[in-house]
Symmetry: C3
Subunit: 350 residues, 3 copies
């Protein structure tokens, strides 16, 4: 993605630190940390891709498969530490639907306005299609089990179930990764090295990766600590912050890359970014978050009905859009409309 | 559709007025108003199509897209005025599933018995397919948000959410209509001018449109006012009246046209009528009804789980039937069976 | 299926009788009856197929369509007699998902390891696909009606609804069977006579059918009477017994045949066995069980959300796997993972 615009946003990093230190207005500090994570996530992503390009496909694939959504994972970690389980889950569910409805929707809409009709490979390989279906079913199962169970009972009995489910999802993710390496299939679609416009040397990439990670960690801690004062001050629901705001921040880098690719009429790459990132959230970041929570207080893998409905609807839409093999701005507008209805719902209803 | 049989049913119009005036038995008057709306809806539809044919494709397309389900809209209006929100929503949900399960089911069943195998275009254009999916997701979202919310809270907070959702659905409907005009795609499938057997002059068409609309309005008001006394007298649930009886009355004209087309082995037109009408209900009549309700008491866009399940199931079936590209009476029987199970359910359970 | 291994398991038949008579440990007797039903179900299935081969396609098709899942029906009957409705429904839902997730999953996994890529007919005829969809919708409808109804009300009002729904499902099953006979389509995919390795004479087949049926009946009664003491003694939930254990026992014979076919790279037959058996459970065994319950206490056709979710998910997966036209061990692993998560859920949560 284009780094020049991102550099300006880096100014928000020191500003957010100062704001936090001087106890500025909670909403302003929250806004500053949000904005400062965007370029950091971009640098983290670019550094990961560069290192992957240097280390060869095998370790590179592993790097992309684990660090591809590192920002989401870091934010989750600090939100777990703070016990904000509803925000954690909302932000991860929001990341899946943000990737499909917002990122893919924007790509199709903007790309479609420029190039009347967008054409692309109509085969989202069987592999990815069943992987998406598997992810949706795997994530939904624990919630359906608790359908008629009171919320208090959920925490106790569902701990071991959540852990086992997470381990199974992770195993499938890892085995799938190895399988796709062996069969030369680009599984999670995170390779698009040809389209990276700036490239650093390996040592520089590693240093940037390190610095970006540390800064994202610090910003995430500030972000998370600011959620409660901010939501109270601004009268915004925590669900809206989790499902809409945080995913936009975490996905902004992928978002701009996907739209740029759509403008270049390379919709295949836009689709790969959106779908690949969704899969990674569902089968890697979510189970790892559940396992990480065991350090503090165990978090269940049980999502809310609205979260699962939106994930399921996104996957359905992604499947239909990809199978069609061509799209236009009207299709993009439909995806964005669903996202808008959901965003309005979380804003008003919470 | 064939007008000669409808003319006889027009006799019920004066009879229903007399019955209402003389306070005949509530069930009888309800039955008479139901029967009298059937030919009136047929005349309204034919007049609309004739005017559309005179005014050219642009204004004609607009006319079909707004007046195509005018009867449903008029009945909704009077039911909203009377505060019978459950009946309004039931009748609109019932119209979607009636169009697909009953109208399409009958067409396939009867057409399939005559012509062993029915073949048709296996591409329900991507446009219509994603439009149907969008409609189902858009209509379901508000309900999923209120999944765990008590029924009393729903009315207050969900008013603005319902209004915004309705406006978004309407925008997509209108933009989609304009888009399909520009790209020459027959969007909502309401054009089948070649198959209209009688044609009036433009002034006659306008006069018939006016008279039919006024008479439907009067009949609708009588119909709505009769729902409560009738359901109590006959021991029928309001859900059955809303989901089964009213949609049959409102859709009878399309129904007979679709079956006639299936008998002529023109299944493409039957499918267009059923699917196009469903889309129009979901993306035009439902949101307009929610907005109209603001005149009196605001009605939410939140449907019951059973209504959404049936709409979703109908759309799934419609997609599968159309994608197959050919059908036979056994397939039609399956659609009719689902409708029958639903009808029995509403009759017994309510 | 290969009979030689089954013969050894027959030893459990006398052992289970002795155990029951001498009041051995409940869990041990339960285990013995489970194991002894496996070979008996195998003999019952083989005898049915042999008789079907002798009597010609028409009566043979009828035999396969009714006796194909006789073991499940017999177990259901005794569980209904004992009033264990939750176990009955769980075991029937479990049979559907066991057939698809476990039987088909194992077949793809084991077959895929032997033959890198498994190819098969990518057309699960429209007939079977809409039949599966119809079965899922038909089975789900009664449950969705009772979404907001308290559990106590369900039993009374839903009796006639359950009976009518059952009759409609049965009619579709029977009409579909006749239709497929006439159009020469292999409807429920239970014909694979070429692959039977041992064949008895007609009288021997009938005698074996009779003996196997009687022994399964006796074992089923012991099995059902042992569920409560066993679940209490071993601390296993009844849902786990119903959804996981009993279907494994009832499907073991089909299971081994399907895997053997997959090893021979005849995935078409494996798919036919899994999908055909699922359809038979949904449209024949379940409605017949509801009707049989009228002899004792009427059982409703209302399934739990988790059961319907798993049936729906299984059908979705089955459709996707079959449509792909080829598969590999990784796909099989995904099916098995979903089954494993469900099994863990029922074991822990119950």
């Amino acid at each position: 993605m284009s780094m020049k615009y991102l550099k300006i946003l880096l100014l928000c990093v020191p500003l957010s630190f100062i704001g936090e230190y001087l106890n500025w207005n909670a909403t302003l500090v929250f806004f500053l940390t949000c904005v400062s994570i965007i370029p950091l996530a971009g640098y983290l992503g670019n550094a990961t891709e560069d290192i992957a390009a240097y280390t060869g496909p095998k370790f590179g694939g592993f790097l992309n498969a684990t660090f591809g959504n590192a920002t989401e994972l870091i934010i989750s970690f600090f939100a777990i530490k703070a016990g904000l389980f509803d925000v954690v889950k909302a932000s991860l569910a929001g990341s899946v639907l943000g990737n499909i409805l917002l990122v893919l929707g924007c790509s199709i809409f903007i790309g479609g306005i420029k190039h009347k009709e967008l054409k692309y490979d109509s085969q989202l390989g069987t592999f990815t299609a069943t992987m998406l279906l598997f992810a949706v079913i795997g994530l939904s199962l624990p919630a359906v089990f608790t359908f008629n169970v009171s919320e208090k009972l959920i925490s106790s009995e569902y701990e071991s179930f959540s852990v086992i489910t997470s381990i199974i999802l992770l195993i499938i993710y890892v085995v799938g990764m190895i399988y796709s390496f062996k069969t030369q299939k680009d599984l999670y679609g995170v390779e698009h090295a040809d389209d990276i416009d700036n490239r650093w040397s390996l040592p520089v990439s590693i240093i940037i990766l390190g610095i970006a990670t540390v800064l994202i960690a610090i910003e995430s801690e500030i972000l998370v600590s600011g959620i409660e004062p901010m939501t109270e001050a601004a009268g915004i629901s925590r669900m809206f912050v989790g499902l809409i705001l945080i995913p936009i921040v975490g996905n902004a880098a992928e978002h701009s890359t996907a739209v740029i690719m759509a403008l270049k009429n390379k919709m295949d790459i836009s689709i790969e970014i959106a779908v690949g990132s969704s899969l990674q959230i569902a089968l890697f970041v979510i189970p790892v978050s559940v396992l990480l929570s065991l350090i503090y207080t165990p978090m269940s893998i049980i999502f809310k009905p609205i979260e699962l409905f939106l994930i399921g609807a996104s996957v359905l839409i992604a499947n239909q859009v990809v199978k069609a093999g061509r799209s236009n701005w009207m299709e993009g507008l439909k995806l964005l409309s669903v996202y808008l209805i959901a965003a309005v719902g979380f804003f008003i209803v919470g």
